[in-house]
């Protein structure tokens, strides 16, 4: 009798556990799940990425009116359009406004590693992770390559590098939406270091 009771208790325990595990494993991770007081989750104001019925295209983030300048924007690039003339003018007139210190150079390095190194390589040799896997054609090396706009890569000036980061060149896309002008100048500073790599 005692043995039977034990077995029964054991059986019931396992049965309960099995049912509980079956039930608790139910659930769809394609849906967020249970929510309480949803109205406390949603913002009253519009988030930049939330849908918005007030605009014709249904988005909150609208393209700013022409002529709008974001904070930290420098108007200077309007004078240097994405043409060969603009490129040469940038080379002649633009100098890096960011003072070169250990700190800014370090920031430039960090930005370079985040934004450039997967193509241009950690040392600027055009051997980044994407290039090594042959997913993308290699860019020229900063120290030994030649620019498609003439001259050696190691002779590129402040203005030329800044112009290229801003507008892109050949297969390199424009990076002005991802990097503020100051950030671009910090990268220019670090690229000059990589031009010296042997």
């Amino acid at each position: 009798m005692l043995v039977m009771n034990k077995l029964r208790i054991l059986g019931i325990t396992f049965f309960t556990a099995a049912v509980a595990s079956v039930i608790s494993s139910c659930g769809d991770n394609k849906e967020p799940g249970l929510e309480f007081a949803r109205n406390m989750y949603d913002p009253i104001a519009y988030n930049y990425d939330s849908p918005n019925k007030n605009f014709a295209n249904g988005q909150t983030a609208q393209i700013p009116p022409a002529g709008t300048a974001p904070v930290g924007y420098d108007k200077v690039m309007d004078d240097y359009p994405n043409t060969i003339e603009g490129y040469l003018a940038a080379s002649a007139n633009l100098r890096n406004p960011v003072a070169r210190t250990t700190e800014t150079l370090e920031q430039g390095k960090t930005l370079y590693l985040h934004m450039c190194s997967h193509c241009h390589g950690k040392t600027g040799q055009g051997d980044g992770s994407i290039i090594k896997l042959e997913k993308f054609p290699p860019p020229p090396s900063y120290s030994t390559g030649n620019s498609s706009r003439g001259g050696a890569m190691k002779d590129l000036t402040d203005g030329k590098i800044f112009h290229t980061i801003t507008y892109g060149l050949n297969l390199m896309g424009p990076h002005r939406t991802q990097l503020s002008p100051t950030e671009r100048w910090k990268i220019v500073m670090y690229v000059h270091e990589l031009q010296k790599v042997q």
């Binding site: 049965f15 039930i23 494993s25």
Partner: protein
């Protein structure tokens, strides 16, 4: 009637067996390896082989064999222009254009006056090798090792999903079968009991098995063991449902919505090793680690179409980018009718909790993976951390403040000294005039 307890025992034993087995399955499943073999690549011999190396080194930045990149597709170029002309053009195209060569001027104008890099360093033999390679073309397509691995990984995931669903279904089936067995056996026992009683002459022969459902149900309700079984079942059901509801309300751990484009972080962040902040470039300077706009995708996907995996067609997922941008990959021109991709937000922090990415990424130096989990291994992103208040607070309790070189803490110490001296300290000194302090 006694035999019901026997039935219970049987069921308990089989359930024990099934649950042990299924746990075993789960374990084995979790360890299912995901590896991919790369097909071997080879290329032709002779001049073309030397040309292939040179082509890769010098030309692929702007040219491909079978499609326009920056410059024209080069397949069949030997038939279009004379060998001497090609030599001159490759070594210094601008000199050729400047000399007024009609063919050169035409090509130059056709490609929006894009200057081709001069290659004076190439010898005649080098140029011949390259042209030979262009003529022969790619003899064997190099296989994408990474792609194969990623594909296998995704398949593995799908298989795992399938088995766990099967397991779930199996368990439910077993519970249902167990209930059926109980009911059937109960009826069999009753019939046998009646036959025995009839044999013994206790029951008259004529009374047959006609019983109304209500009567049967009442008899079942009087069966203590059955009632006990039902109660256990209900307790298990409501107990676990309740437990789950209590703990998981508002906690979306594991939430993995289906996104409009099957973007794989495993491929981009894991295999290709693109830094998180290349695409989520606002994580270190703003409150939001924004979803990148499509122009960021186009920095690579103006070239990368993954067509080698889709028999020369553009990958259907990459086509979605082009369609959203109203971009024509043939002419490389953008149209006027772009439509945004509606990504589905995975991490939904309630609006009553303020969270700032830049504060955590830049000031504290928290790595992305500490909160978002092994994102570089996720073919499809899911929410890794619970994002509950307890989770936030536990980290804030244990992590050390990184005050080194942080002017904010210097200021706090300065103000502290001022207070000790009895000087007046205004909120403005502590940054109380910053716009974002109120208008965040």
């Amino acid at each position: 009637m006694r035999s019901i307890s026997l039935v219970f025992r049987r069921i308990a034993q089989s359930l024990l067996l099934v649950s042990t087995l299924s746990f075993g399955f789960q374990q084995a499943n979790a360890q299912a390896p995901a590896g991919g073999a790369a097909p071997a690549a080879s290329s032709g011999g002779g001049d073309a082989a030397a040309g292939a190396a040179l082509f890769k080194q010098k030309c692929t930045s702007c040219h491909a064999l079978d499609r326009q990149v920056v410059g024209p597709a080069l397949k069949g170029i030997n038939g279009k222009h004379s060998k001497e002309w090609l030599h001159k053009w490759i070594k210094n195209s601008q000199a050729l254009v400047a000399s007024g060569d009609a063919e050169a001027v035409k090509v130059f104008n056709e490609y929006n006056k894009t200057v081709m890099t001069p290659f004076p360093e190439l010898s005649d033999a080098d140029v011949d090798n390259i042209l030979a390679y262009v003529e022969v073309g790619e003899t064997a397509k190099p296989g994408g090792e990474a792609g194969a691995a990623a594909g296998t990984g995704a398949e593995g995931e799908a298989k795992k999903e399938g088995i766990s669903n099967l397991m779930l279904g199996g368990l439910i089936l077993i519970v249902v079968v167990a209930l059926l067995v109980i009911v059937v056996l109960n009826r069999v026992i009753k019939t046998l009991d009646r036959i025995i009683l009839q044999k013994q002459g206790v029951l008259p022969e004529g009374e047959v098995l006609e019983e109304s459902t209500a009567v049967r149900f009442r008899r079942l309700a009087k069966n203590k063991k059955f009632v006990f079984f039902v109660i256990i079942l209900l307790v298990a059901l409501f107990g676990s449902l309740g437990w789950k509801a209590m703990w998981n309300t508002g906690v979306h751990t594991g939430y993995q919505p289906t996104q409009p484009i099957k973007y794989s972080h495993q491929l981009h962040a894991g295999t290709l090793k693109i830094d998180c902040q290349y695409c989520h470039f606002s994580a270190y300077k703003s409150k939001n680690a924004a979803i990148p706009s499509l122009n960021v995708c186009m920095n690579c996907h103006n070239y990368v179409t993954a067509s080698d995996k889709y028999n020369g067609e553009i990958s259907p997922e990459i086509s979605k980018i082009y369609k959203a941008l109203d971009y024509d990959p043939q002419t490389k021109k953008y149209g006027n009718n772009p439509k945004p991709i509606q990504w589905i937000r995975v991490h939904n922090l309630p609006d009553f909790a303020y969270f700032n990415h830049s504060q955590h990424v830049t000031v504290a130096g928290v790595r992305c993976q500490e909160c978002h989990g092994p994102i570089q291994t996720m073919p499809e992103v899911y929410q890794y951390s619970p994002l509950t208040m307890k989770w936030c607070i536990n980290c804030h309790r244990t992590r050390e403040v990184n005050s080194k070189g942080n002017a904010y803490y210097d200021k706090v110490l300065k103000v502290h000294d001022q207070l000790k001296k009895g000087e007046k300290v205004t909120p403005a000194v502590l940054g109380g005039l910053e716009c974002g302090k109120c208008h965040y």
